[in-house]
């Protein structure tokens, strides 16, 4: 296949890039407190980019034998596409990373089913009348990239993931508790961490309390800090910076956030979900400090935006059917020095576990606006109860200027984060 690709492009005298993907997946599902069934499958595909007459063309297919037609379609599309301002990846040494574990490959179906049974038993023991769900999957992925500029690389990756939770609905009070985790190593998939989360979530939601609209200290947990990272990821996307649609445009080397805040994009983190030796354009992975003690040091870039911004590329991400664009890998928010127990000693604060509707809001504008799906009122270190019918509305540009970080942290699926306290955030509630 690779030879055929290179030969055809050589004959046509165009440069190009071939990506090949192969994946296997096994999912075991439990719903409504019982084993439901399994899903298993394999997919594969090829995606081709070519550079012809100074323009890029792209095409893909799930039929890997279709290489010639895919190349031809890509060449046809090149007439219309973006100006090719960069070259495809060249041959460079890629770092050694840890993203494959034989123990995931060897996980048996029955072993996963037993984990599921145990998890369902645990969740149903937490609260009577709860509807428990659990699913666990093993995924084996193989990715290869070759270019006419002599890059040739490939890697195998294994991912085990688990999600579990419970639904407890009664007239006038619905409650969902939920947690998920994914790792490239079986031993690091810590189901107990999820169990602990569910237990704490249920305890916190034991009773509902009312609050009034107003300004509150708000604490994001290592699980919910992802909502703050949503507009952040858009703002540090090199393509948005070029287009003027980043709230952090022209802010490089400026201190924009609290000095407590350091945020790193780390594709080298052992056995994390986005770990890989090179990005989806064949650029060797490296750790990138984006925010260092509040100062903006870098943007996330693909080959295109790196060229335009005169930065190093290496953060491209894509699926089979889409073109590469900059995207966060594993994100690490460095710990602070405050003890969580001290952080919780606010006079009257809100802990956010999950939000709804944030991604539909004006995330490009830096807004984190959403309904508090699961959140608690905390007073002087004690969780008083669940708050409902409440919305939070903050903008990261202002809100992250003043934050307090805990010394405790957690590694959730793609993020390592401490607890993040924002001293004053507007909460709207019903009268």
């Amino acid at each position: 296949m690779e030879d055929k690709f290179l030969r055809i492009l050589n004959e046509k005298n165009v440069s190009g890039e071939l990506m090949q993907i192969q994946s296997y997946r096994l999912v075991v599902n439990f719903e409504h407190n019982r084993f439901k069934g399994i899903e298993e499958g394999e997919t594969s595909g090829i995606a081709v980019r070519v550079k012809k007459d100074g323009k890029f063309g792209f095409s893909f297919s799930t039929d890997v034998t279709d290489i010639e037609r895919v190349i031809n379609r890509a060449l046809e599309n090149a007439k219309f596409s973006q100006e090719a301002i960069f070259d495809f990846a060249r041959n460079k040494d890629v770092p050694e990373v840890f993203c494959f574990d034989d123990e995931i490959v060897n996980m048996s179906r029955d072993e996963i089913i037993n984990q599921g049974k145990e998890a369902i038993e645990y969740i149903t023991s937490l609260k009577s009348g709860i509807q428990a769900f659990f699913s666990m999957s093993k995924n084996i992925l193989e990715e290869k990239i070759i270019t006419t500029s002599d890059f040739s690389g490939g890697f195998k990756k294994s991912v085990a993931s688990a999600q579990m939770g419970g639904i407890f609905n009664e007239e006038g009070n619905f409650l969902w508790v939920y947690g998920s985790l994914a790792r490239s190593s079986k031993n690091l998939l810590n189901i107990d961490m999820l169990k602990d989360k569910l237990k704490k979530n249920l305890e916190g939601a034991e009773r509902n309390v009312k609050i009034n609209s107003g300004l509150y200290p708000v604490i994001f947990t290592p699980y919910s800090s992802e909502y703050l990272l949503l507009p952040f990821a858009i703002a540090i996307n090199g393509r948005n910076v070029i287009k003027g649609t980043s709230v952090l445009k022209d802010k490089l080397n400026e201190t924009i956030f609290s000095k407590n805040l350091t945020i790193v994009n780390d594709p080298l983190m052992p056995y994390a979900i986005s770990t890989a030796p090179f990005d989806d354009e064949g650029i060797p992975s490296r750790r990138k400090e984006i925010i260092s003690q509040g100062k903006l040091l870098n943007y996330l870039t693909d080959l295109y935006s790196a060229k335009k911004l005169n930065l190093e590329p290496g953060n491209a991400s894509r699926s089979l059917s889409t073109l590469p664009s900059p995207s966060p890998s594993n994100i690490v928010i460095e710990n602070g020095t405050e003890k969580l127990s001290d952080m919780l000693k606010v006079k009257k604060g809100i802990i956010i576990e999950s939000l709804m509707g944030v991604q539909m809001g004006n995330v490009s504008g830096g807004e984190v606006m959403g309904n508090i799906d699961l959140g608690y009122l905390v007073e002087n270190g004690e969780i008083i109860g669940r708050i409902k019918d409440a919305m939070i509305s903050i903008n990261i540009v202002d809100a992250l200027k003043d934050v307090v970080l805990s010394e405790e942290n957690a590694w959730t699926t793609g993020i390592v984060s401490p607890y993040i306290l924002i001293p004053s955030a507007p909460i709207s509630t019903k009268l």
């Binding site: 089913i113 004006n362 490009s364």
Partner: protein, 458 residues
Amino acid sequence: MNRDDIRELTKRSDVDYLEVRLEDSSETSISISGKEVETVSKGRISGGNARVLISGVWGFVYFNDLDELKAKIESAISQAKSLKGTVKETVSLAPVKPVDAVYAAKIVKDPENVPLKEKIDLLMHYSKIALNVDSYIVNTRVTYSEKKKTLCFANSEGAFVKKEILDLGGSIVSMSSNGKEIQRTIVPFGSNNNFSAVENLDSSVEDAALLAVKLLGTDTLRGGEYPVIIDPNLGGVFIHEAFGHLSEADFLSEDPKMREIMKIGNVFGSEILNVYDTGDIEGFRGTIAYDDEGVPTRKVSLIKEGVLSGHLHTRETAVKMNEEPTGNGRAVSYRFPPIPRMRTTFIDNGKGKFKDFVKDIKYGVYAKGSFGGQTNGELFTFVAEYGHLIEDGKITKLLKNVSLSGNVFETLKNIVGVGDDFTIRDSGGGCGKDEQFPLPVSHGSPHVYISKAIIGGK
């Protein structure tokens, strides 16, 4: 592979049920950012699955290579057989008369007959209209996607359905900035049978771009509870999020408490409220003739004059709730089994007048346009494109970042006016549930007057 071969392969007596679905689709997608064509992509996706039910356990196997169908059916069967005895519950499926049908969408203007260059030029034309409106328009994001799919379905009961369908959708987003903030507006489009959905949008795009500029520096409402009028676009998203998802029976059928809450006959609103889900209105992305279990589509009344009147089913959930299948068993692709999903969901016309709703409000909000929403069953939230303040019965100043929230049950009961200006709007993207995204759905509504809802704000 032809009809007879597929039917032959699905004739099995050693299973409780077996079905196969095969898919062959070609996709064209275009994206433009400002004056640059970022993506022109043509690709092909083909694959299939076999789903089998034995002694209450579902086995499901998906694959890309259609030549492997026979082997994959065997592996799905042996997978389910080996799990025999794992569950005590028996699963049966609601009986449906096996259909033998070929369906092809009645295409009005086929996008395949429009040269690629013409499509790109048209989208670039929109992008330039927006960019030329004002220098505060810093960028545009124009996306277009067109999928032609051939789907084959066959099961062990003798059903065979072949569908040839089109799914077209996208949007033109204008982004404005004054260096301090970023605002955006959207012109969405979509259709299941007509390229014209993306044509003649010049004035809509120009208006939207102007609006994006006007939104810069406008006020955000103080957060709190207000009377709200939502426009038809937002009304459709509201009913999809707030009520449609609750009606999906996989969430209900095995949960006794939920069945009690969602019991037919329960009162959900006043008699002015009528809600439907249907697959049979031609021209929309949520239009389907048969669902992915081979069940013919039918119109389902979900709320009739304020009273709960129906649910959305797969064959499995229908039998559990002792109701008829509705044709809502849908899968986003061959990689997933069908689950209960919406099609075109709408609030039906009422007798109210928009201008009377406005007159009735002393201090409230008129929320317009939609960026989508989310629900957890009881609480929902959706994001309007923008809004206007209503003061003493008059529409006054512009508002940005208008996001509405509430309790589903309370808010449905707080609907005090349903307008007579019903419209259905389509957009790009689709609905997401579990991992299955984006499923093409449509929604519609007239203007709806809600006596109180929470608006997020500073």
